[in-house]
Assembly symmetry: C2
Homo-oligomer: 417 residues x 2
């Protein structure tokens, strides 16, 4: 609806990224400029902050700090994992949201997150429409998993991919330093889609990558893995680097990390076995071939490594926030901002579009199978061409005492009405 | 000995760092300038390359690539862990080294590494002197452990400390993002000295650090650890970040990682238990308090994270290499380059000196106990004042395709004589 006058609220949801706060900066800075937006609120811990009337008055923040958000990792407002029930089953939360929105005259709602967050965004949007409450709702995409439907790529992915590729290049140099065999198994995030693990191939493109890359898109065979590792070791002085997505599964869909730890647990008379996938696979290689193996997890570092953020990703995430506000103020609702790749000039350009938030909420985008090499252990040039533009440029994070200067918001709470 | 004319050889030894190649660049670029040095060789895999007459002709490298070494992590020539026997017990290796040095008229020997490498350097130096073979031997220090005697700090430490502090700041923001309790145990390198783990306190100084920091200088009690974690969780909404040095030991000197895994192994009927210290402690916290815990290892990334190298460290490492060559060409031998902190101008300045390599080889420097807070879980301002100057400035690593451009040496082998 056009010409709505009222407050806006913005929430962050799901796992944090290096650039989710860049989108927050985009939303806040743009919203503060819009004359139809009477107040700019940030919800503490996403939808939970709305349900509990726990939000911050962004109008009281300094512009310098809002700009620092562009280089500050994690979710400055706090995040949440909260799944709204279907309104037809239980509409308690929805009634409460409507009540809160009415009380504060909230007419613009921006929600930043991945699949689950877009599900929330979609459900709230649909409920408010049905209730006849005028509120423009726009989703802002975010996920290092890069698995949102309808967008060329997702804010957060480029930075995480740059972290994975850069760190793997450094590890590659480190791992081959001794004149003897050594195997490294590197575990990379991505439960269902292998986009982030695929970023290892960017290091390969620079000649310093992984010998083997396994994505969850291809069923994983432990036997084939062991023989792949053996083949690489045999032709490579006993050295091998294998990257695995945390989400690799066998042909029956069972997570490899679960089948390995339950196999060991049985062996250990029912006691559970510690360790993630990397350490389990490293242990398996060690027990099978008796070689030195190191299991390495990029852990939380890959999603919060803002010092290695992609300049392109930061700008696009920031713009995604701005575009969401501009679209809402132009009367759009029930949409999510998406990126379209424009190569018409021969150079990568990102265009901002809108799609139905419902579509984004319920569809998952995986790595195209034709981008995975036939032996299932690498990526084709198509992937490199796709990913390279997304990791260009660096964070302009200012240093203070030789360490990054992150945003420190005042977080003035809005008085409860 | 002064006015020696002949070839020089340089070797890298021990675990790689972000800046060990910066010292290589310093040695090579300075040696190529010196008129008394007739050829510049790089030993493949340290002392092993010398024993096997396996070395590269650095004179054939391009200057651009040698300069890129300043930003290239790991050991470009290859490293080695090889302990020379006492010459009085078995002088086979020494005779061989002397034979190789004579064959190639090697009159300058530079060796880059930590305690063990300085032991090698010292033994070779003493043997050559005793054998009456004129060769100027200078050790170039290197270790992320920062535990070499006689130097204010070691090349490699500032960069690893910057990695630890920056990454911990980012993790701190990530770890507190949800509105519920969560514990993280972060494992940092350092077997005997806690210098690198202490760098976590630099993140504390910026307000985004660890609640608890445990160094190997203080005997570790699992019971106290659990109660420390509980206390922090209780006062902090269930959140706690604890950093532990991999080398923490109990009061009897037993490594905690060993006592925990053997305790669990017994429990598991003798089967070994996977996982490093972080994962073992995380598991223990989880079993004791039933809270969500993540074990995080900075693994190899902390020693090869050249993209986060300290500009100060890079320059000092480079200069350490140059000073070694200058000293040798001025007739010095049997020494190691050390750093002296000069605060006379009120600002940090690094002065380069020499000490006896024997001293450096056999003494280990730990974190002063008075820099550790009385409760054994933090560092005092003295440590911050010590460490801050070492992490200043950034790597000037050029990017290509959005990824670091590392040196790629030709590595032309010297024909065996």
């Amino acid at each position: 609806m056009k010409d709505l006058v009222g407050a806006c609220i913005f929430g962050q949801s799901g796992g944090p990224t290096s650039v989710i706060n860049a989108s927050a900066a985009g939303v806040f800075i743009e919203a503060l400029k819009q004359k139809n937006i009477t107040a700019v609120y940030g919800a503490a811990h996403g939808i939970k902050g709305i349900l509990e009337e726990d939000f911050y008055d962004i109008g009281q923040e300094d512009m310098d700090e809002l700009l620092l958000l562009k280089n500050t990792p994690s979710s400055s407002l706090g995040s949440v994992r909260y799944k709204l029930k279907d309104a037809s089953v239980d509409d308690t939360d929805y009634k409460r949201i409507l009540e809160v929105f009415k009380k504060y005259n909230i007419r613009y709602f921006f929600y930043n997150g991945g699949n689950d967050s877009m599900d929330t965004c979609n459900k709230v949007s649909k409920y408010l429409m049905k209730a006849g409450y005028a509120c423009n709702v726009i989703g802002v995409p975010k996920t290092i998993d890069n698995d949102l439907y309808g967008t060329d790529h997702c804010p957060g992915y480029g930075s995480a991919a740059k972290y994975v590729a850069t760190t793997l290049m450094e590890l590659n140099l480190d791992a081959k330093v001794y004149d003897k065999g050594q195997v490294a198994v590197v575990e990379i995030m991505g439960r269902n889609a292998g986009w982030l693990t695929a970023a290892a191939a960017l290091a390969n493109y620079k000649g310093l990558g992984a010998d083997l890359i396994y994505l969850p898109e291809i069923p994983f065979s432990v036997e084939k893995f062991l023989s792949d590792v053996k083949r690489v070791m045999d032709s490579n002085g006993g050295k091998c680097i294998a990257c695995v997505s945390e989400g690799i599964r066998d042909k029956d869909g069972v997570f490899i990390v679960e089948s390995l730890s339950s196999a060991k647990a049985k062996d250990n008379f029912g006691h559970t076995q510690l360790g993630g996938l990397a350490i389990q696979l490293a242990d398996l290689i060690n027990r099978t071939y008796g070689v030195k193996v190191r299991g390495i997890e990029f852990s939380l570092m890959q999603r919060c490594g803002a010092h290695l953020a992609s300049g392109t990703d930061i700008e696009e995430a920031f713009n995604a926030g701005r575009k969401a506000v501009q679209a809402a103020c132009a009367g759009k609702t029930d949409k999510m901002v998406v990126f379209e790749r424009d190569m018409s000039s021969g150079k990568y350009k990102c265009k901002y579009k809108l799609i139905s938030v419902e579509l984004a909420a319920n569809t998952e985008k995986k790595v195209p199978l034709e981008w995975i090499t036939p032996d299932g252990t690498g990526l084709t040039q198509d992937y490199i061409d796709y990913a390279l533009p997304l990791i260009q440029g660096s964070s302009k994070s200012p240093l203070e005492d030789g360490l990054p200067k992150f945003a420190s918001l005042k977080k003035v709470k809005v008085a409860k009405k």
